[in-house]
């Protein structure tokens, strides 16, 4: 029975600020009422304006950064839902449903992590790396040297908030399709090149979030090399809380979710072990 997380609520929050980043994104900062415990990185919220300017169905966004009861979301503006959010004046209320989903596994220091972000897929990694460096779930703080973030985008303007990631002190490898910044090529090409050149740990654990072709390639690479890999999916969602059955992700029969042919991205994910799900149709 896929129930929403017990701490999830439907709340009215206040928009604190909007900051444009890169060529087509914003960092939206809002304040939740009351005090908010530390939220696990990789979890997400459904957001919408309570007025008629947002589409009726709220949109899912990963928690980008938390400072107490103020939460930030890194949002690529692409359609009516994100446009309505981007046009909200500070001080206005926003409807927030969450925190939702399960988030990243414990990002401990048992072996090094290589995170692969494609464009806006970087959003869940900021808080993930930050929490890992601070020590997650009682695990020891992870050294920044155990982290590599490969951050790919079409062009430099799509490496959103790159400096903030660099300020975390971990190794950040930018990659752009047009070569405008860092490696010339996509994030997966960059991963292969770095690995081939011996500049990555031999047996890293992989994390991925980004466009579907990138996720498919990363999962294939993890399978071929027999590496642990967790993917944060951005499946189209109708509710975020497990009641619409619209966010089905096919499962692998032999995997940990194999008892049923599909998992729910919203309540079983959005982070899945790569070998638990089937990405290709």
């Amino acid at each position: 029975m896929a129930a929403p997380p017990p701490d999830a609520r439907s709340l009215e929050s206040e928009l604190v600020s909007l900051r444009p980043v890169g060529s087509d994104a914003i960092v939206l900062r809002l304040r939740l009422p009351g005090s908010v415990p530390l939220l696990r990185a990789g979890r997400f919220f459904m957001l919408r304006r309570p007025d008629r300017l947002s589409p009726p169905i709220p949109r899912p966004f990963s928690l980008y950064r938390q400072e107490g009861s103020e939460l930030e979301f890194l949002i690529k503006v692409i359609g009516p839902g994100t446009r309505a959010l981007a046009a909200t004046p500070p001080g206005q209320p926003l409807t927030v449903i969450g925190p939702l989903g399960r988030g990243w596994p414990t990002l401990d220091d048992a072996s090094p992590w290589v995170a692969v972000a494609g464009g806006i897929g970087s959003a869940p990694f900021y808080e993930g790396i930050r929490q890992s460096l601070a020590g997650m779930d009682g695990a020891a703080p992870v050294s920044p040297r155990s982290w590599t973030l490969i951050y790919g985008g079409r062009e430099e303007g799509m490496l959103y908030d790159l400096e903030c990631f660099e300020e975390l002190g971990v190794r950040v490898l930018p990659a752009t399709d047009d070569g405008s910044r860092g490696f010339h090529g996509n994030a997966i090409d960059c991963l292969r090149a770095e690995w081939g050149a011996g500049r990555l740990p031999l047996r890293p654990r992989l994390l991925g979030c980004g466009p579907e072709p990138m996720m498919i390639a990363l999962a294939a690479l993890a399978r071929d090399q027999d590496l642990e890999c967790h993917l944060s999916l951005e499946t189209y969602m109708g509710c975020g809380v497990g009641i619409c059955n619209g966010c089905a992700v096919p499962t692998t029969p032999e995997g940990p979710l194999g008892a049923w042919p599909v998992a729910k991205c919203c309540t079983d994910g959005p982070v899945f072990p790569a070998d638990a799900i089937r990405l290709e149709p």
Partner: protein, 313 residues
């Protein structure tokens, strides 16, 4: 405070607000958002005899005025419902209506038979919009005689109240309602989703994998009201109005027509805690009207009498 209690087909409900099948979980998964007692009754997602994995993605799409879905009745079957869902419903103080489906007339009776003794279940709702495998996959809801057979089969195995949930995708819904009444239905739910289709003009692909799916949400409210109205006129059965309710006003529209209760589906996707406060908001609006009991308001719809036009000289 306005007395919102209502008796639906012999079932006393604290208020007329119900969840709609397939939009609020199987049991009380949503109790973190809506306290069990806040709803007149919790309606389960359709339970079928065998597990059903559902349709391939994409299964849902939002359109400008509504919501398209083709979930394909994904559910783990009646055995899992008995083992996993029902035990969690015990002693929660919630009224439960279990929605049942099937591919053959007999399936409906077999699912109901498995469940009828369960004390957690107060009533059944029969999802007649399921495709009838022996009837060219036309839904059971499209033929009054087939609807009658399904209801007779279900009523043959349970003494609990049974609601027949009708589809709006017919020419004369009143005739289907009469078929369900003849089969022994204790009440009607009007309606399920309206058939629809969405096109992504850019990719030239349908929005749903199944091409055609069920349309719900605000846009279907007037259609649902019209269907409920025809059901009320065609039979003497209590009717549960369903379709496009987003707030207390749309709920009151159904109640004004004479519906005993209402169900809310798609609007819970916009706000999963909407149902927690909806009954109170219905009560507040009735209070504004100076109404003391829901029963006094229910069915107070005033139909204009056609007055003859004044003759012109």
């Amino acid at each position: 405070m306005v007395d919102l209690s209502v008796s639906l087909a012999g079932l006393p409900l604290a208020n007329p607000i119900l969840s709609a099948s397939g939009t609020f979980g199987h049991g009380l998964e949503m109790e973190g958002f809506v306290p069990p007692q806040a709803l007149g009754a919790w309606v389960s997602k359709t339970v079928t005899l065998k597990p059903r994995p559902g349709n391939p993605m994409p299964r849902i799409a939002e359109t400008r005025a509504g919501f398209l879905n083709s979930i394909g009745l994904e559910n783990r079957g009646v055995d899992a419902y008995i083992e996993e869902t029902l035990p969690r419903l015990a002693e929660r103080g919630a009224r439960v209506i279990t929605n049942v489906g099937g591919e053959e007339v007999d399936d409906f009776a077999r699912v109901t038979e498995r469940l009828t003794e369960r004390p957690e279940i107060d009533a059944f709702e029969v999802n007649l919009s399921c495709p009838n495998v022996s009837g060219g996959r036309l839904p059971f809801s499209t033929d009054p005689e087939v609807a009658e057979r399904v209801l007779r089969a279900v009523k043959g195995v349970t003494d609990k109240p049974v609601l027949a949930k009708l589809s709006p995708n017919v020419t004369r819904i009143g005739e289907i309602a009469q078929g369900a009444e003849a089969g022994g239905a204790d009440g009607l739910t009007a309606v399920n989703t309206v058939l629809g289709l969405g096109v992504d003009w850019r990719t030239r692909r349908p929005l749903l994998n199944t091409v055609v799916g069920g349309y719900s949400g605000s846009a279907i409210h007037p259609i649902a009201l019209r269907c409920a109205w025809e059901c009320l006129q065609a039979t003497g059965l209590p009717v549960v109005g369903c379709g496009g309710i987003g707030g207390p006003e749309e709920a009151l529209a159904f109640l004004c027509l004479g519906c005993h209760a209402v169900q809310v589906g798609t609007a819970s996707f916009s706000d999963p805690s909407l149902l927690a406060g909806l009954a109170a908001r219905v009560g507040a609006l009735l209070e504004e009207l100076g109404v003391e009991t829901l029963e006094e308001y229910r069915g107070s719809f005033q139909v204009p009498q056609p007055a003859p036009l004044a003759a012109r000289s």
